[in-house]
Symmetry: C2
Subunit: 188 residues, 2 copies
């Protein structure tokens, strides 16, 4: 395994377990059999490490989900693909998304902005798909921004209550959410 990948895995694990603020770099270095100076060779600060974990995590699961969804021309299919994979590949897989979303405000403003840009792609994907459905006369009268956040919110809130020891229920959960959302949004 690549050394940075190893640092990613271990610090993600420790941040999930003990929180970002409560995990000193020296502890991460120790768990990797590195000196603190050795770890500084890869990351100049704990914040830089947190940003790397954020970016790396998004590249693994969330960005591929967005890339694939954006290619789907049918707007209902596009939202469905995004929500299903966001639920199954990110939110119900492990507690990484939970930790990263909750600690995002510990990032420097310029780093936080970069992460928010990726999140913004998800908002735009859903919002634009709802707009297409609306133009086709298929949508109930609804505020499109609020409908977009309804979908994002019901999915994202999952990390506050989901039991990662029962992750096999992630599929049923995402199916239920997608069903409730579309039935709520679309005209009969």
């Amino acid at each position: 395994m690549d050394r940075r990948e190893e640092i990613y895995e271990k610090s993600l694990e420790l941040f999930i377990e003990n929180g970002y603020v409560q995990t000193p770099l020296s502890r991460i270095a120790g768990a990797l059999n590195l000196t603190k100076a050795g770890l500084y060779h890869y990351f100049k600060s704990k914040e830089e490490l947190l940003f790397f974990i954020h970016e790396h995590n998004l590249k693994k699961d969330f960005i591929p989900t967005l890339d694939a969804a954006e290619k789907i021309s049918d707007p209902e299919g596009r939202i469905t693909h995004f929500l299903k994979n966001y639920m199954q590949r990110s939110l119900t897989k492990n507690a990484a998304a939970k930790m990263l979303i909750q600690e995002a405000n510990k990032l420097k403003p310029e780093h936080h902005e970069k992460i928010k840009k990726v999140w913004r792609r998800a908002f735009d994907l859903i919002y634009n798909a709802i707009s297409e459905l609306e133009e086709a006369g298929k949508v109930e009268r609804v505020n499109k921004t609020f409908a977009t956040f309804a979908a994002i919110g019901m999915c994202s809130w999952t990390f506050y209550w989901f039991d990662y020891d029962r992750r096999e229920s992630g599929r049923e959960l995402s199916d239920n959410y997608i069903k409730i959302f579309f039935k709520g949004l679309l005209k009969d």
Copy 2:
């Protein structure tokens, strides 16, 4: 104003502004023109203060919302009353609910349990109302636990994106969420 009420207001404000971990008791005491020993007269630790803020905040808005909703016999009306008031009196009023939910894991386990018991009342209220609607043959085939979390999640996620300078939109927002949720849940 009662002294404990004053401490509540000021520490809530400072915790919202700077985070719980980043706000030392000495700073709170200073902002109240108290010595640290003076503040300790009221609260033996920062955690005790956080717990007091949690309980006091719930008593002001969330528990009255639950009390009133639980008295409504119509299950649709019960869920509507709860979601509307949870949105308007807690989530879109100010950032207190945001801070308290995000910092709840800083409470001692026995304090955290007491707060979770109140939250559990909200879950039960929605779950039981959905059960009644289901017995009356009014509900789509859906996992009731997941449907309950869909409602709680879409509402609660609000604090991640809501602009408290535009709190007048809270009413339209809660109306949209309630409409999407019931149309998603109920048979036509």
